[in-house]
Symmetry: C2
């Protein structure tokens, strides 16, 4: 079944519910994608991911390129067989990791030369080889190589980066086209809008990329330190320019409240290390906020993390046990907390999908904040 996106409902808020078809299964949107940086969502098995309701996972081109290398994954039969995950996979392009992790040597129009954070070896990524690396990895949705900028950055630097991102998007397209079939299933390429927090640059970036007719579009370069207000303004601005009939993906965002606000602005897809990284540190999300499992207040709390939660962790384990696992440094702690947090995120997306189709998103959002909002700065949300 070829890649497609069907818009099923648009709420008066602008929130959208839809469905993406891929050869590895369909994805109901809005959706959150658990992050499996190195070909594994840390501590979880594919079975766990199914149980928390994951429909698609993300993996990182940069990390997989450095270790174990895309040739090995191709030889293994692709990322799905390699990690034993049957559903769709999206890979990012490595643009963000080169920017944030590697000892960056030089960006030119040709590509990015950098030092591996693992062994210090020199590497070179180009728009072309990033597409080919992702074809070897075998993801269903590939991302073009983009140039991220830090926050804050000058207008000139932001414009320079977005121009290069557009140039690279064109060259990525020229390498194979935006849709191609390999290994018996279709792979599609999404473009990434840049432009930092400059409204006119974001608009320029979005319009240029839209004219190239990609099957989907991401909003990149956010969640890099800019104020929440900018994050959401830019998200709303760009979403308003992107074509209605194509999926919109906000990269690397964020807190539950960020997802709610971005959905209200018409975003369909998200990824973030937030739920899993927080879980490994023992911080878990609940319908009324967050708790740190190691807190003494949880020591003799024999109830679940969240009595309203239907996840495996909440149905089987107490806060007291989870706290014990974290105090004792036991691996089961991060695992059970990761299951809970991902379930929380995916259940939140599920609730939003339902209300966009059958209810009123703005009313639901008010209800969400009435419980969850106590943990937020009052002047910040909703924005």
């Amino acid at each position: 079944m070829p890649f497609s996106f069907e818009l099923k409902a648009v709420d008066r808020s602008g929130a959208r519910a839809g469905s993406i078809q891929t050869d590895h299964g369909s994805i109901e949107t809005p959706i959150f994608m658990p992050v499996g940086t190195q070909g594994t969502v840390k501590s979880l098995s594919p079975g766990d991911l199914e149980n928390v309701g994951a429909q698609i996972i993300l993996s990182n081109t940069y990390h997989l390129h450095l270790r174990p290398g895309e040739e090995l994954i191709r030889e293994a039969g692709g990322i799905h067989r390699f990690m034993s995950w049957k559903g769709p996979v999206l890979t990012d392009s490595g643009g963000y990791q080169v920017f944030s992790l590697a000892d960056l040597n030089r960006i030119t129009d040709e590509g990015v030369r950098f030092k591996s954070h693992i062994d210090g070896s020199m590497r070179f990524l180009t728009p072309e080889n990033v597409v080919n690396i992702q074809l070897d990895i075998g993801s269903d949705i590939m991302m073009v190589l983009d140039q991220c900028v830090e926050y804050p950055c000058s207008r000139a630097a932001a414009e320079d980066a977005l121009d290069r991102t557009t140039l690279w998007a064109k060259r990525s397209l020229e390498e194979h086209g935006a849709k191609m079939t390999r290994g018996g299933y279709e792979r599609v390429l999404f473009a990434i809008v840049q432009g930092s927090v400059f409204h006119d640059l974001r608009e320029k970036s979005a319009r240029e990329l839209v004219s190239l007719d990609f099957p989907g579009y991401a909003i990149g370069g956010l969640s890099v330190g800019e104020p929440k207000k900018d994050l959401l303004e830019i998200t709303g601005l760009v979403a308003g320019i992107l074509p209605e009939e194509k999926p919109r993906y906000l990269m690397g965002v964020g807190f539950p409240e960020d997802l709610v606000e971005a959905v209200a602005r018409g975003v369909d897809m998200f990824d973030c290390v937030m739920p899993t990284r927080n879980a490994r540190n023992g911080t878990v999300f609940m319908s009324n906020g967050r708790t740190i499992l190691k807190n003494a207040s949880n020591a003799r709390d024999f109830g679940p993390i969240d009595p309203d939660c239907g996840c495996h962790t909440c149905r089987n384990y107490s806060r007291a046990y989870l706290r014990h696992l974290f105090m004792a440094g036991e691996m089961l702690g991060p695992r059970l907390a990761s299951c809970h947090n991902l379930y929380f995120y995916l259940h939140l997306m599920h609730q939003m999908r339902q209300v966009i189709k059958d209810g009123d998103f703005l009313e639901w959002r008010q209800d969400f904040y009435s419980k969850y909002g106590d943990s937020l700065k009052k002047d910040q949300y909703p924005i």
Copy 2:
């Protein structure tokens, strides 16, 4: 259903197949008990334990006493509810941990005074409070406090320790009797035979304890550095003295070949950190030996650890993927390897149970060594 042991078959070798009934379920023997030191078998959920065929797990009185403390576990409703494991639980007494882990201050007839390895606080274990701690923890099978000695040790020191172990066994019995019901289910107390590698001392220890009529007996103080020959000689000697109608438990042993040899000498129960600790280091067992997953030879091996193995790991993941997980330091590696190694151990026990009932144990043992034995020192097994 009250605690009982039924002997179902005794092979010409002396190998026994039986069944232990507890209020948390029955245990087919010979059996291996996965070790859940701190109230969790490292990296695994209770569901995983069921999937690998675990029928009973072991937890450590010493560790649980220090953290989270037995009162908290009692308040949680006992160890089964605390860790969400529905099957039987055996707790050791802490005698071995006090001997091997703690900064040992003083052993007197009264008990053991030691420094906690966690916070340096002074603690005091007596035969009486060790029974009461285990009653709070809520295990189905409790062990008496014993005194372990190092290897080698003098005859005088070994005799002193076994005399004290017998004295403590009597006092443990006096505290509550050998069988008691608490919290709606029965708890039983096993004694532990000591005596180092001195045959006459082992015989003395066994006869003294047998006269006290415990529901089950353990062979302790082995696998502390003595030659394999001594381990197996002492095991055979003691098993020959222990009553036929009661379960025999060889503590802290061992390698797969040790289990085979000990079963041939009439042992019914085992525990050891071997399969799980090795798994966390990336060493996995196979019907023809062992492999270290990080070895370069596994890098492009897209087959399972062991094509003959029916475990979840072998059915779903390649050596290449497992090696990648270990090279990348991913938690899923230890988890999948632990599942495999425990399945290997429990499947080995399953095979032995079957052959004791329906076949010839010595022939099966020969077959076992014909595959597995290549990895062993030729002059060492079978002994």
